[in-house]
Symmetry: C2
Subunit: 400 residues, 2 copies
Amino acid sequence: MADLTDAERFADLVVEVGANVQEGQEVDILADLGTEEVVRAIAGAAYRRGARFVDVWWWDALLKRERLLHARADTLDYVPPELGARLLRLGEERGCRIWIIGNPQPHALDGVDPERAGRDLLPRLKESSEVVLARTTNWCIASWPTEGWARQVYPSLEPDEALERLRQELAHVSRFDEPDPAEAWRARVAELRSAAGRLTERAFDSLRFRGPGTDLSVGLFRSSGWHAGTLERIDGLESIVNIPTEEVFTTPDPARVEGTVRATKPLELAGSLIDGIAIRFGGGRAVEIDADSNVDVLRAVAAKDEGAARLGEVALVDGSGRIGALETVFWNTLLDENAASHIALGGSYEFVVEDEAERARANQSEIHVDFMIGSPEVDVDGITGDGDIIPVLRGGAWQI
Amino acid sequence: MADLTDAERFADLVVEVGANVQEGQEVDILADLGTEEVVRAIAGAAYRRGARFVDVWWWDALLKRERLLHARADTLDYVPPELGARLLRLGEERGCRIWIIGNPQPHALDGVDPERAGRDLLPRLKESSEVVLARTTNWCIASWPTEGWARQVYPSLEPDEALERLRQELAHVSRFDEPDPAEAWRARVAELRSAAGRLTERAFDSLRFRGPGTDLSVGLFRSSGWHAGTLERIDGLESIVNIPTEEVFTTPDPARVEGTVRATKPLELAGSLIDGIAIRFGGGRAVEIDADSNVDVLRAVAAKDEGAARLGEVALVDGSGRIGALETVFWNTLLDENAASHIALGGSYEFVVEDEAERARANQSEIHVDFMIGSPEVDVDGITGDGDIIPVLRGGAWQI
């Protein structure tokens, strides 16, 4: 048998270990233009596992730009109904979703009126949260290097050097440079789950983040568990939903978030780059939102609905992860959120909250926007129900 | 104002003169990967005309190849229902369809079991004919040069020479090299319509094609008109549905086709290349189908349903067209069918048949496969109801 290409070996990792594609499943792939080689390999791998159909939705941020520049304002909320219908049907049929990041374009919407840019979150659909929360699909988000992305990440390198460096860094953080990447992921997932287990046991009443520009308290539900590595479909099928993943996360109490926080990395949000985010929370709500660039895009998104200005997630990333150590800004949430502890405005993973009354209070929103607030300079403490202060992260290292 | 790029000028031609995009319309584009520049420009032009949404379905024949190589045989007829639903809704809402040919890949399915290759006609949907026949959309098929296509068409040229030659030839046949391409198309459409009018007036009972390997009689309906250049949407909105177009066509009587025919150009059919097609018709049906390559693909398609082995179209192309003169094989029906007179197996344009009883007999099928049977060596005669034989085309020149 011929040697497999890198794309074919990576496809096997995504299909078998990440998404965990099952016999008879429909597999919907969302992929940036430019990732054709790996997407075809993923399709081949999925079909060999018995997939019924692999449907690819190619994403092009520059096409979206044309809409936002030229379409009539009264049409900007319109999305063809079949996109949502397809996603909901996929959930009903216990289908599989794969998202391949290959060409984040943080400048795709430069010059677009931010009010217009914030109205359309495509390729995110309003049905996206619904399907994630219903846990009816097995899924995986992974990344693949392209020239366009490499140019964005390493603007000072020659194109082929940049591509080679991106290829190496993505292989490293995706543990694709290990002799047995599947086994490497099983081991890493076990480590992350162990940290999550220790956090769940502590049952902190809140977390406190302190560092440059940040003094933030995030209330936790009494019955929120910490999760990491894998998610279970409603029928128990496991998938590693992010390759790479380095985070442990839980669902906070959206009513008990107080203080100020400064982002430690820039955020790429639906084609716009938002740098220097600074937010003040009061009574759980983001009451002041500032940023050095494109603040209006973030403000428009945070005004999308009732829950869009409250937290739906808090996640801790320790310094042993592979992404933070690179100090590379990938301009994409999959990678950048796994470089540092983060919080997210918008919808929550309700299912991590055990108690029904608390679960009913978990944040709900059409949006979910992660942004990075951790770094070695940011201390994280856990506050117990009795008011004791327990160090959790110091200089990026677990203290518990 | 900055000068427009070629892509922007071509986009204006497709949107304004070809598809005739209307205020408030949804525009669905089917496009080969590699045509991003012109597709973005088309989206921009459509939005500036007031389009509500431009939805692009990127087509990748190599992804289809993965399915046909690796999927379970019992899944090969499956198509996600939202693809058809989207097309039918577009028709109900009087939407617009644009198809950009940019990378025909006649070898994409090489090595695939022909029986498997013939089962899936994607990107054609079973709803495609229905929407065309209902005349509920305005539409246009056009082409744009890409490196992959150029390599296919001129394999002996260097890549950039090949691309430049394809660019020039496509510009020429699309009349995009004229000072005013819109005006050039209005003039050419008027010429084609004049020929169609003369043919309609003659009201031939049948046509006869005679040339090397060909002696074919194609019966015509008494009430079939000849059409050319534009199609009218059911409410009268006109579009030039092919850029380029050089044909005059009508709907034949599917019961009265007799004799043998040899194709004068190779056919690219859903990713397979079919060379040297030779068909014998008896009682209107293709009773023997031969070819030098991939004959099983054509046979499988012709067995798709009751009407798939009968004719749905006959079209005449005279030698004054720009495509035939180039003697280039473009490996794509849009261009190659306009190089020479052709016939099509499968569904017909029923609406060109005036008489209701005759219209009920027009051929119906899920498929529509054009193949080229004309050349300067093929004489075309019209046979009148009285049995008189009237020369129609000699050496490619109109005789009427």
